[in-house]
Symmetry: C2
Subunit: 339 residues, 2 copies
DNA sequence: TTGTAAGCGTTATCAG
DNA sequence: CTGATAACGCTTACAA
């Protein structure tokens, strides 16, 4: 007795078209290699049966999956959504499918997910930031799975990266702040552990202070996970200190929004009593009151170029090139000269 | 000559541990079935070699992938992010991995992605809303891939669903609005084509009008894709009409935020000159000025329960149960009695 | 408790 | 241009 109405296979198609499985396979993967007449016969058998190739079998035989994996720190806030969407659109155009997972900013989880994605046959990986154990890079090398780092541009690192110079960008913003006359600076940063972007942004502020005659040691710093509530709480602490800052540079827009809202709760005027800046220029930055002066990151461009670069690595077995993107300060209302 | 430093296989592990591949496989999948001594030997071989099972091979042999696919309309706005995150956490707890793709609200894209996910061996699918061609449901049946619908609760539909009654929820909100004395109502809705949620929300408003002596025909309606800018533009049009509405009920928070901002640009006071309501209660709703009165949807609970329900369907071959969740009106400042 | 061996559905190599 | 047939790496009866 024949199989009980389970998914049709190559073999079923071959039988129905009166050809071999090899021919069917060719029709599907490299149609020119088979004469038009048989091709038509095969194709009509294909859709008569509603045949869909079995992905696992194909991967195993071809050792290619046309799948790209991406591991992002979180799906919950908008920071990665836009860039990832662009990434996905671009790879889709080129015949690849995207697999996304999120690591919740946890290195162990990220490592596990990298292995999962590789085991699933991902042809390449998109990673966020450079900071991770060398063991992981060794693993990727051994498995010969190319990876591209985004959201950070550091050409001398082991993996090619596409993004911007987080340190330089934040330095520029901090210089703007200092140029306005601010002397007591604070920063609300994301957790720097395993996060080169967060760390470099703080360094950028210090750089700006140094080159403007302020001691970097006076920078008040709070590290906290990227959540609006945490930004609010950190801001509260900062303003409760003996010498509260006149400007608070936040490591990203989410924290900055928390700070701005907390200021309102505390009856502080922004930027009258205290200036606040963000980083990323996500939607929230425009919506909040007062709107955030922040650093604009070309997320969509980054996503698209990361896709192009990674596919290049996959298809031509190249080692990958790093690309630097420009950021720009977007001036809105949350920053002004100290009162 | 041996293979050139490619990924180790079951066979390599077996050789090194001096057992058969079957035993290694058992150690990995059902450790109790093998005696402790050999198990240890195998395990140490496993990590000496840095062995990771080949996923495609496993899927092919076991006809199970421990993968669940989800297709959401978009990753770009926050509506689905929170629920999906909860969904992912829950399935991860139970040993499954999530594959996400987004359809950009396009039915053809969604269909293609459903097929892709199934071909990839997804054990089950999470779908948003009920509206789609029957052909797709037939396909899923044939392939015996269970699917769960979320963000909409309609028990009489073909697929089990978990969510809330969109019509009823919006009706409740509209009654609140009408109860305040509003008589000229408008709605800015998402595109209703292929989107039962959007359509039912409009129906809910009409229901409320009918049962309160207002003619549903007087409801001014604009349909537009879910983007802040579109909400703003729709609001502009609405207010430019001869008899502008005194309250605008938006199909979701994203559109409502656009409306609120446009009001500000136009010098209209919210809620003094016009009331605006949202739907979903995403973060933006709290952040915008004035904060939105909106409908709270228990996204995380929905995600978790969808996961539990779907896994139940997968593992016990059950047909799936629909679950209704409650929504609640969250009162903030964007709604008040007409001036 | 463990080993043997037959698939799983493709692709790819070689002949024809 | 097309057909056999051997991989691919794993799971799972069935046997020992």
């Amino acid at each position: 007795m024949s199989k009980l109405r389970s998914a049709p296979t190559l073999d079923d198609v071959a039988k129905r078209a009166g050809v071999s499985t090899a021919t069917v396979s060719r029709c599907l993967n490299d149609p020119q290699r088979v004469i038009a007449a048989t091709r038509e016969r095969v194709m009509s058998a294909v859709d008569a049966l509603g045949y869909t190739p079995n992905f696992a079998a194909r991967v195993m035989a071809a050792k290619r999956s046309f799948t790209i994996g991406a591991i992002i720190p979180t799906m919950e806030n908008a920071i990665f959504a836009r860039g990832l969407q662009a990434f996905q659109e671009e790879i889709h155009l080129r015949g690849y499918t995207l697999l996304v997972s999120s690591s919740a900013y946890k290195p162990e989880v990220e490592e596990e997910q990298i292995r999962t994605l590789v085991a699933r046959g991902a042809d390449g990986l998109l990673l966020i930031g450079h900071d991770r154990d060398d063991r992981i890079y060794d693993y990727l090398d051994r498995q010969k799975v190319p990876a591209m780092v985004a959201w950070s541009f550091i050409p001398e690192k082991r993996m090619p990266s596409i993004g911007f110079d987080n340190r330089q960008a934040m330095k520029a913003l901090a210089e703007e702040v200092i140029g306005l006359g601010h002397k007591r600076l604070a920063t609300i940063s994301g957790i720097t552990q395993g996060n080169d972007r967060a760390r470099l942004r703080i360094e950028g502020i210090r750089d700006a202070m140094r080159s403007n005659g302020l001691s970097p040691d006076t920078l008040m710093t709070i590290e906290t996970p990227y959540e609006i509530e945490n930004g609010a709480e950190a801001f509260r602490q900062l303003m409760a200190s003996d010498h509260p800052p006149s400007a608070v540079l936040c490591g990203n827009d989410v924290l900055a929004v928390g700070a701005v809202r907390q200021a309102e709760l505390m009856g502080l005027r922004v930027p009258g009593d205290v200036s606040i800046t963000g980083f990323d220029d996500i939607e929230l930055a425009r919506i909040v009151h007062p709107a955030l002066t922040t650093l604009h990151v070309p997320h969509r461009e980054m996503g698209r170029k990361a896709a192009a670069g990674l596919i290049e690595m996959i298809e031509s077995n190249a080692s990958g090139q790093s690309i630097q993107l420009e950021t720009s300060i977007v001036t809105r209302t949350s920053l002004a000269a100290p009162g």
